[in-house]
Structure formats: C-alpha cells, structure tokens
Symmetry: C2
Subunit: 492 residues, 2 copies
C-alpha cells in the first residue's frame, strides 16, 4: 500500500476522503448516499457506542427499540417538526414486488399499495411519543429515561462519508418528565455527558452552548450542542440535546395524573449523536500520514512488526513479541503482531500509520539480543529504543500520555483559532482564514440569516462553559446592543 | 399489578402473549407488524447480543455495516433468492413529502419518484456481495469474516411479537472463502456457535441438523439449523447457517486470483439469529406465574424486598441490603432493591416473579436480627432461610445451579417428547399430541410437502449431533427405502 494521501494544505476535503477510503473506514455503496462502514471503521464506532452506552446507563437510562417506520400522518402532528423533517425522506408506498410481466426481474406490485405511506424514521420523536402515550398515566410512571441505538434516514442531496449520509447510525435519547425543571436539567445533563465523552474519549475540546433560535431542532424550545473545531477552522456540530417543552406531549396527547389529582402534559427532551462523530474524530486529529486515533477509541493500540532475515530470527522475535503481547493485554492493551511474510517492514509501518494505530513497536535480532525494542508514537511521529523489561507498563503509561497529548494539541489549536472580533471588516476577513469568531450579535434571526448569506458563517452556539463573555457590546452586523458574545464559524 | 396470566393449559398462545405484554418485554406499535421492544425486553436482547458478539469475535469475525436499502434489481440477480425474498417487502418509491395542496398534512411529492425503487433489506446477501466484489481481488484478501447487527424487514401478513414481526433485529454473518471446504467448515463452525450459545446461555437444548431441500434458505446449497422445542411440543427454528456455494459470487461476479495465477469464484456462507430468540426463550422456560429467565440472560439476577412496618425498620433493613448488594455486585451479580413505598411485599413478589428474576430475597426485622434472609428461587418456586454471612457467594453458586437446572428441565422435557414413530397412523396421532417425531423419510420434497399438507408437520432437520439414527428403514409416508431418521414436528 502506497500512502499517496492528498496533503491537508493541498486539498483538505480530498485529504479527508483519502483517509476515510485508504484507512479502510468506510466507502460509498451502490445506494446513493448510503455508506458501507468497513470493519476497521465500525470497530471505532463500536468503541464510541460502548463508552457512550456506559455513560447513559450510569446516568439512569435504559435502551429500548422503536419501529423503523413512521406513519406519514405522525410527522405532521407537531407543527414545527413537519417543517424540519417531513421533507427529504425515504417513503415506503408498497409492500410487495412481483415478477415483471415481461419475465425480466421484478417490479412493484400495484395491488400492494399501503393505505398510509410509511416514512423511514428521520428521527423518532413522533413514534416514541405516540408510544409513551400508553406508558404514562400517573406521576409514578415518570420519569421515562430511554435511549435507542438505531439507523435513521434523511434524504440528503449532497453526501459525504460519515459527515452527511442518507442513512446513518446514531443513538437518540427520549425522556419524559413531570416538570419543566427536571426536563431542563436532563437536557443539560446529557449535553454534558456528550462534552465529557468528546473530551475524554475523542480528545476533542468541544465548546458547549445553546443554539440560536434559527439553528434549533424542529420542535424544540431550546437546543444545547457541542461544537468541535476541525483543522481547517470549520466547526462540526458533534451532538445535540433538546428541551422539547410540552410540544410532543400536546401533539400526541400525553398527560399524567399529578400526585395531588391534577392532569398535566408531560415534559420532554431528546438528545443524539451519530456516526458523524467519526468524521469529527478523523478531521480533528489526523495528519498527512493518515489517521491519528486517540488510544481510548483505537481498535488496535499497539502494532508489533518483526524485522528479520532468517526463519530462526523470525520465530525468536515473534516468540518474544507474543510474550510482551500477553503482558500488555493483561493491562487492557490491544496488540496486533503484523506477521505477514509478503510485505516489507517499511510498507507495514506506512500502513499502520495510515490506520492511526497509536504505538508501533519494531524489533530486530539486535534489539532482541539487547533486550530492547523500538517504540514509535503515531501522534508525534517520534521513536525511541526502550527496554523490553517492563514494556507492557511503559506502553500503558505511553498510551495515556498519547491520549492526553492529542487532546492538548487540539486544545491549543482551538485556542489559537478562537478570536474576538469587533468590526464587520475583520469578521469577513477572519472567517475566510478559518477562525471561530467571538462576536456580539443583536439576537435576531434576521441578522443571523444575513450574516450567513454574506459569509456562509453561522452561529455555532451561545457558549456556556468556555469562551463565555457576558458584556455589553454592539452587534457586529447591525450595531444594535448585545449582552454577550456568541461563536460564529463556517461549519460542516 | 395483578398477575392474571392465562394458564398454559388453558391457552398456550394467549399465555405467551400475556407474558410478553405483562412482563414488559414488547408491544405492538402503531405500524402494522412492527413491535416496540420495551426496556426490560431490550435488556435481555442486549445480553444475547453481547454474548454472541463475543463468540463471533473469538472465532475471528469482525463487525461492519451495510446499507438498509437494496436496489430492486439486486434481488433478482440470484435466481432462487428472488423467489425467496423479492416478495413481501417494504418498497421505497419516493424520497420526498410535501405539504398537501389542501394544506392538511403532508403527501408524497410525485416529482420525487426514485429512478429505481429500493427495498428495505429482508436480508443482505445481495448488497454485501455487490460490495465484496470490490474487496476481493486475490487469495490474499480471503477469507472475509464479517458480521452485521441490523434491522431487517419482511412484510409478514400474520405477525406475533418476537416470533414473526415485519421488522426485527438480527445479526447476519457473511463470509467469503477461497475453497468449498473452508466455506463448509465455516457453516458448521457457526451453527455450532449458535448451539453452544443456545445451550449455555439460553438453557435451550437445541437439536443441530441439516434442513431438507424444501426448507433451505433461498440461494443456499445447504442450510444447517438449531431447532428448539417449546413447551407445547412445537419446534422453533432458533438459528441458521447457510453454505451458499458460489451462487452469490457468480451472481455478482466475484472472482479471486489464486496463488498459482488462476481465477476462481469465491465461496460463501451466511448465518443469522434474530429477536425471534426472545420468543424461544420465553416459550421454553416460563410458567403460569410468568417469565423464567436463565441467570446468564437475566438483566436483574436478584431482587431484594424489605419487609418493614416502621421507618426505622425500613432504613436498617435497606442498609443491610445495600451491603449485601455491594458484595454480590463484586461477584458479577446484578441486584435491585425494590424500595417502593406504595406497594405491598406480596404485590412486589408477584411482579418480580412475572418478570422472571431468578432469585428473590426478602428480609424483615426478625431476619435482620437473626442474620438471616429468605431466599426464593424463581425456577423451582421454593424458598429457604439462609445466613446473611457469605450470602453473596451463596447467591453466585445458586445462580449457576439455577442456570443448570433450567437447562436440565428443558432437556428432560425434550427427551420425553422426542419419539421414534414407524407407522403413519401413529405419526398423525403423536404429532397432534405435541411430539417431535423421529421417522424415516424417502428424501423427496414431494413426500415432505404431502406430509405437511396432511398434518402441518415439517422436517425440522436431519439431525447431526443428537438423535442421529443412521439405519435402514422405510419412509413413514411412502414406504420407500430410507437410510436415516429425520425430525418431524409442527413449528412456529
């Protein structure tokens, strides 16, 4: 495998596509806009799934599964929701194929038309709230804290692997609460779970904040989000948590008997992250040699490459590697010995670099004799000779250091690329150079829309945990008064 | 919650539905034939998923993800496959809804008709082999050992929760091999993985065997299966593993360069189990009090119910329970303390029995003072007073014993209900009484079809690991010569 990656500086977009393809993460399928997630890519997603699922359960949530299909009429129950989701979607109209009258292939059986068309779920609020209607009678049935891991379909016109695909995998939490306060608390709790996951597992220093009204989820009263910065200075929305008020409860008539005998509509939240996170992970950390994976999400932590001439050398080195592997595995380190006999070490090195394996160990006859091993880091591309004695523990520490270093590197990059801007001229200039801009904004959707028209920048969030600037100021575009700065950026 | 379960003897079918509903496992949704898997049911499926996934990985398989949609034309590529699967399926014909011209709700946008209709996957051989075509060039690319966890849709007319639903969850393994022998070996390996899982986790004493030609998967040269016996003596096919020969490789033109420079079609297998296993689990072990779960698949192993009058008693007992819970959890035992203050102990006992929790512990003030606890087994409905000292370890052993006992009970039941039958009169009589019949059969599809017409019994399998009877005999129906007995039964 020759690397032949396009460089980031040359063509960032092509660089991303090259990594996705050449590292064996995903590829386009025969179905427009739908991807095949290849084993190596899926293994990373499994690690994300596992870590998130654990965090959801630790915060009291249970998983369940709801139908893939949603009756068409459900989508129009919630007024804003229909605007947001009843558009580009996959519509099932028939339930049978038949052999073509001309005998060639199959055609849709016109007699098998559904009475009501079904939409492949673009998100599941409607079908879930229609179900909750039967689950919720009294305050004793609340809260309901349910999550679903599922595939969803939104018929996007322009698709990109992981970032925007017609079908994608995700999780969607849907909770029901007795009070507004409790639902709001849940909304914040879950965006913070996402932020923690992004920072600690993905090594992504995300910014947490509120979406502006224009960028809210269709049907939400408030949308919280985590926003990540990519290496081109563009933003990627990596997760959202919505306070839905009583909108879906009212649309589906979900009321509960209160402790004192009243009847109230239920309060709702929903929150989700998707395989889009894969795109964020790839774009945030990788370099011109390929993928760079934070150890906590790497399917393989350490690859060992034997360097040998004779069969004797080979078997002695591999035997030693097997011993070290066993010790490392006991410390929770996943190790692959690349024992392929038809490839040269240099080729293997390049391939594992491309695949982002955090640590590579090479061992030749002289290393073996000296009790040493050459240990190379993927994140810094540095290497050093280390003693085999105690190597497993050394690796354990090194992996933690790499996880930390990848985060710190991304954090420095971000901090260098978030700037305060106070004039429209500077805004236009800096947004083109790939910065997140901390600006005053007059709070109107109209201004936001105009800024987007002129610059393609959108309000990524009104930050609540970093870059919070509560101060008097003037809107960058209209000059009207503003109480706080918000984050503008171009986005994926 | 009153139990109010229909008894098995009264109406087996209604008993099953009652358990699924009242134990909170699943329910019908607003979409015909699609179920909602409720949190408690989904937690059992997660345990199955986890155990199977581990076994797949231990046998060298990796997970991946392929598109939900299959272009209509793909289904007709493999001649038998189109017969089997291009029939009752969900067909996507459009990709957009629009606001209805009358302003009420949404309608399908006639301008958004797809050029080629897409079918929601009923199974993924076609889309996967169309993908493998690009993955396989040389013998070095083989084998491919890939599994997918996914939802699939088959538009069944008559549906039953878990047993037959329009949408269901499953895993489908799809492997590609250089030789016929290797593919056949994989087919056997995976049916044995299923048998091991069924026996060790589900406590189901399944019979492993070949399907007759008439019962084979559409497109397979051989189908191996595991067949389980339910308490009404009917069979439930719990998993299948197919040797697909070169059928899909030929349909999708997948060839590989051999080591000596030739070009050969690739050999294939596929294998799957689904949420149907939930149905098997419920029907095999449960009783008139509700669900009975083997501990290895129980989301909650032990429920603790405090018996108290005063608040002081309550807090002292719950404090002691928390201690025992902690010790038990350290041994991998999942414990719930049912601390609800609005329900009487008897009600709680009935509810946890209904939900099949393997062990129930009750503790009152006198137990507390005496250092004892009342431990009740769900499988035998017996209880005894046991010392709190060392209780965690006692529970660990008890859970293993319960797992074992549930299996042995099912095995005895099965062995009592598998009988050799040699006359047609006896066949007709015994099949009505709920037996698996070991009979001679002349090997023709015609005879099999006639027997099914007359009795509704089908050949469940030609057994290969239990009830193997290789002997000369005469077909139960035609009297023609036969070399071995096969298993006939009515089936779900």
């Amino acid at each position: 495998m020759a690397k032949e990656l396009t460089g980031r500086a040359e063509n960032y977009s092509q660089w991303y596509n090259d990594i996705v393809n050449k590292a064996g993460l995903a590829e386009n399928s025969a179905v427009r806009g739908c991807m095949v997630i290849k084993p190596y890519g899926y293994a990373i997603w499994e690690k994300m799934h596992e870590a998130l699922d654990k965090m959801f359960k630790e915060t009291g949530h249970q998983n369940a599964y709801f139908p893939l299909f949603i009756p068409k009429s459900f989508l129009s129950r919630e007024a804003e929701h229909v605007e947001g989701f009843a558009k580009e979607c996959a519509v099932v109209t028939h339930h049978r194929l038949m052999v073509s009258p001309d005998g060639n292939g199959v055609v849709v059986d016109p007699d098998a038309k559904l009475e009501e068309e079904l939409v492949v779920r673009p998100t599941s609020e409607t079908i879930i709230w229609n179900t909750y209607k039967n689950w919720i009678k009294s305050y004793r049935d609340l809260p309901i804290l349910v999550n679903q891991w599922a595939n969803v379909v939104r018929w996007e016109m322009r698709t990109r692997l992981f970032l925007r695909t017609a079908e994608f995998l995700w999780q969607e939490g849907h909770t029901a609460h007795a009070t507004r306060e409790e639902a709001i608390e849940e909304t914040f709790k879950m965006v913070n779970v996402y932020a923690k996951f992004a920072r600690e597992y993905m090594a992504l220093p995300v910014i947490v904040g509120h979406k502006s009204e224009g960028e809210r989820f269709a049907g939400a009263l408030d949308t919280l989000c985590i926003e990540a910065m990519m290496q081109d200075g563009k933003a990627l929305q990596a997760g959202t948590s919505h306070f839905l008020g009583q909108n879906f409860a009212k649309a589906f008539e979900v009321q509960y008997a209160t402790a004192d005998g009243g009847l109230e509509y239920v309060w709702a939240t929903s929150w989700g992250v998707s395989t889009r996170l894969m795109g964020a992970l790839i774009m945030a950390h990788s370099d011109d040699n390929g993928l760079v994976l934070p150890p906590k999400l790497a399917p393989i932590h350490v690859v060992m490459v034997p360097i040998f001439k004779s069969a004797e050398e080979h078997s002695a080195i591999v035997a030693r590697m097997e011993e070290i592997k066993k010790e490392a595995e006991a410390l929770g380190i996943s190790v692959t010995i690349d024992d392929r006999d038809n490839l040269r070490p240099g080729f293997k090195f390049a391939e594992w670099e491309l695949k982002g394996v955090p640590v590579r160990i090479a061992m030749g006859p002289r290393d073996l004799a000296a009790g040493m091993a050459e240990v190379a880091r993927r994140d810094t591309l540095t290497k050093e000779s280390l003693p085999q004695e105690g190597l497993a523990q050394t690796l354990r520490n090194l992996l933690d250091e790499i996880q930390d270093n990848i985060y710190r590197k991304a954090l420095s990059f971000r901090d260098e690329h978030v700037i305060k801007v106070d004039t429209w001229e500077e805004f236009k200039e800096k947004i083109e150079e790939g910065y997140f801009l901390l600006c005053h904004w007059d709070g109107t959707a109209e201004t936001e829309a105009r800024i987007q028209e002129e610059t393609k920048a959108t309000i990524r969030c009104i930050p609540i945990d970093s870059y919070v600037v509560e101060e008097e100021g003037k809107c960058i575009y209209t000059g009207k008064p503003s109480q706080r700065r918000v984050v503008f950026a171009k986005a994926y």
